[in-house]
Amino acid sequence: MPGLGTLYGLGGATTHLMDLQHADLIVIQGSNFAENHPVGFRFALMAKERGATIVHVDPRFTRTSALADLYIPIRSGTDIAFTGGLINYVLSNDAWFKEYVLAYTSAALLVDPEFRDTEELDGMFSGYDPVSHTYDPKTWSYEVDESSPPAGGEGGASVHEGGKRPKSDPTLQHPRCVINVLKRHYARYTPEAVERITGAPQESFLKLARLLIANSGRDRTAVYAYAMGWAQHTVGVQNIRAAATLQALLGNTGRPGGGIMALRGHASIQGSTDIATLYDSFPGYLKVPTVEKNETTFAAWTKNHTMRSGRWAEYPAFAVSLLKAWYGEHARADNDWNFARLPLNTGDHSDLPMFFAMKDGEVEGLVLYGQNPAVGGQNAALQRGAMERLKWLVVRDIFETESASFWKREDSNPEDIGTEIFFLPVSGVAEKAGTFTNTMRLLQFHEKAVEPPGEARSDLGFTYELGKRLRALYADSTNPLDRPLLDLTWDYESDDPHERERGEADVEKVMREINGFRVEGGEHVRDSHDLRDDGSTACGAWIYCGMFPEPGRNLTRRRTADPAQPAAPGWGWSWPDNVRTLYNRASADPDGNPWSERKRLIWWDDASGAWQGNDVPNFPLHTAPSYRAPADARGDAAIDGDAPFVMLEYGRSEIFGVNGTADGPMPTHYEPRESPVGNALYPNVQYNPVLKEWRRRDNPYHAIGDPKYPYVVTTYRLTEHHASGVMSRQLPWLAELQPAAFCELSPELAVEKEIRNGDWVTIETARGEIEARALVTGRMQPFRLGAGRFVHQIGIPYHFGYKGEVRGDSANDLPPLVADPNVTIHEGKAFTGNIRRGRRSPFSSRTLELEVVPQTEQTPFGSPERPGPMPGPGAEGGMVEHEIVPPAEVMEAARIVHARAEARAAEEEEGTDEHA
């Protein structure tokens, strides 16, 4: 979760849902909050009842828009242009929160003199390697103050060389001050440019800019809420960083009614990232060792991630405690904590490359835990095809999923498919006990109410039993490579004979291991400060330390809610340390007093010599505001008394990204990988130059402005269905509420394509085609990009598949596999396609898979030799004035666009002939 992590330090929502009611302004962007998190949205409405303003920025007018005070349409994939415009407005109008920014952000630090911005390099940052398509982030750092004494300790992950402090200019006069670098970087993002790129009407944009300024500062706060609409882009991480930057400049983070509310999409998305079932992350955000960083020994591994200050100074303690939790007595100081037998990563092993490896026959066996890639995966036909190549597949789910029955789909022949498949039924949430971590980092325990039916088991019981059986199969092995399995601590036997007989594990024994305990004596640890790097403690996930501080006191089972305390500190337990608002030291001014009475949260109390207030301080409790860390200090002692972002090197929000984003230290607008238009901001760099792509015949990309695929397509969720539909399409109650696959399009596009409301339509891309019913609605509208250019957008819910009470084609057959370079999240929210009236052919996906799809040479760059991006809209004329566009005018504009597209296609054909 590096979108928030790189700027603030932790990859979690900075605030909690109940705190939304304290906001004065709520900006919802990249989320359909009201429909996809309906119950959480009630806190936004509470704020509105108290006089707050709600603004919704989204490609579609939804129920969220209907309940907002201001709705701003925006073309999918242009959020950074929009947020960058707001940053520019705030900076150029000198409307940033000076005291907050100076004290709590990196604004005054000096950037490395070698650093070059996109403004100097025509859309690129310094450090680009055109061969590997990656950046070397060496220059994305601070200028070191050679005269400063070297900071102490062995902090290997120190972001500046030699452990010396960066230079700073508190007067902000130096041109290389971060704030001045930001000003230059965003100068291009004028309100006119924002309108031309995003299609958002300029006056609406300006209205939001003014609202943000009016609702930030000592007395007022604004909060941002986002969801997958920001995440699922090739610039997903930077979308979130842009908002985090803006919130830091406005001084909203760490304060009541402020910050960034990340709205996750599944019950335990946050939990499965915290205790990661992700290829690159161990529990508690420890990094999986890699070959690239030469992390072949425990020391080499931990040195790379240990920081001088804050909690990450204790990385070795967290790491030793994890290995002690895994291997018990087999992890010792004299065997390097059994580190040498761990698997090492080489590159990207996320689910996107995983499916390509599967298609190519490298992956033989797959265990699916409640995931349904046959519908939920991008380029889903490819994912179904990949599963055909498996030798064996285990599916654990509550119903028969499309992924379990891919061999029975309409365009396949079971007799050709040699996959051995096991379907194991699972317990529902009420049939097992355990914890979910919700969208605001809150762990809540659900109790077991009844026995699961038949052979259904919890995933805990399954995994426990599988481990036992594997260990039995290997019990006689003398091969040292099998040691990790045999060295595992693997005793979670239930004390309940009935559960034991069914093979179920004791969930609280697992929780005890996650929470951590002392190896001698076995007492539970109380918080992460108890962990040691000498092997005396074991702990499965240091950020969850304290959730279960002693036997019989499982804090995730607490259910006391006091109406006087909206944060409900007695309900469940949130990481870290039951803090509800992260970085809440920033709710007080540098001297430790609340910025205002209205927005008080925690403050320094001289009499008791401690921080106190209405939340657990996310700060060393007894560090006074006046404390200045000595140069040789480490850990908590190295945090200044006025440095709220305790997980970062200097405790200041890094609004210039020195902490390891792969695609630049500041968010920059690039078009999606597939777009009907050129990049109007930097015409020579079309899309994120370091995005991850897989150019293969079975994963073709559309060319920029390809006239065959002239429309933007986006996918989304409905209130009544869940993700790939397994948990909803099989439920008659929900199936009845949303009974059919449909797509939404504007009346203007419908007229152009002669589509009537309710017609069958086919939506096509080079990856596949699907059919759906047309919902022609004014909620969708063409985006006017200036100079008579219009872009149409089509929206498709992605919940449907070929099993269940209600069935339909899967929208995820349409997008390509292409990903953000930081976290390999796919781009499901913005790609291109076409639409036509009528149903698809019955075997379209199979035909398409076999067809050779030509891949024109595509690079992110335009150059005279290559047909690069189309000229930026507006290049040939001034801005178009804004009013309600009458359909006739829209039609005329569409005709112009098409005439141009045809002319372009003719030109391209000529070019192709020459090559032939």
Binding site: H266, A267, I275, Y279, L344, F436, E455, I514
Partner: protein, 191 residues
Amino acid sequence: MPEESRQLDLSTLLGRVGNAIRERVGALPNVLSARSKRLRPRIAGATATPGVCPYCAVGCGTTVYSKGNQILGIEGNPASPINGGTLCPKGAATFQLHVNPNRWTTVKYRAPFAKAWSDVPYAWAMERIAQRIKDTRDRTFREHDEHGNRVNRTTAIASLGGATLDNEENYLIGKLFRNIGTPFIENQARI
């Protein structure tokens, strides 16, 4: 003033007032039939178990009502500071996620090239899965990659899923599969 009205006793007066209110406002309880009086809520005497909604990440508190081993209903928990008893359409359907004839409750097996599922015993399937993992792992495990780097792994086995599971389940999946030696451990939570 007529004599009669001064002789009104209290109960008659209250009765008239009551009638007036009942006619005009409807604020008093309606007359109940004998049958209605016998009716009890479906969840009367049921066990109430605190739960959490399994759909989106808001984390609404639920109450699971059950008798014996039968779930009778799943409702929003009014005590929860998050949802205060409310649920959205999906959350309100959690009952049907559990009590649903479409649910598969036996272990199904599809042999290679077979055209249909067949039921198999749980223990047989578990042992077979363990053997398949071992077989694949033993054939494909590499201590070093083609460049001679130590990698200790097999890229022939993958685990996918976790964002709908409990933290404890994710913990065990990670612990087991990392030590089987696969780098392909993934779920829906990529950002």
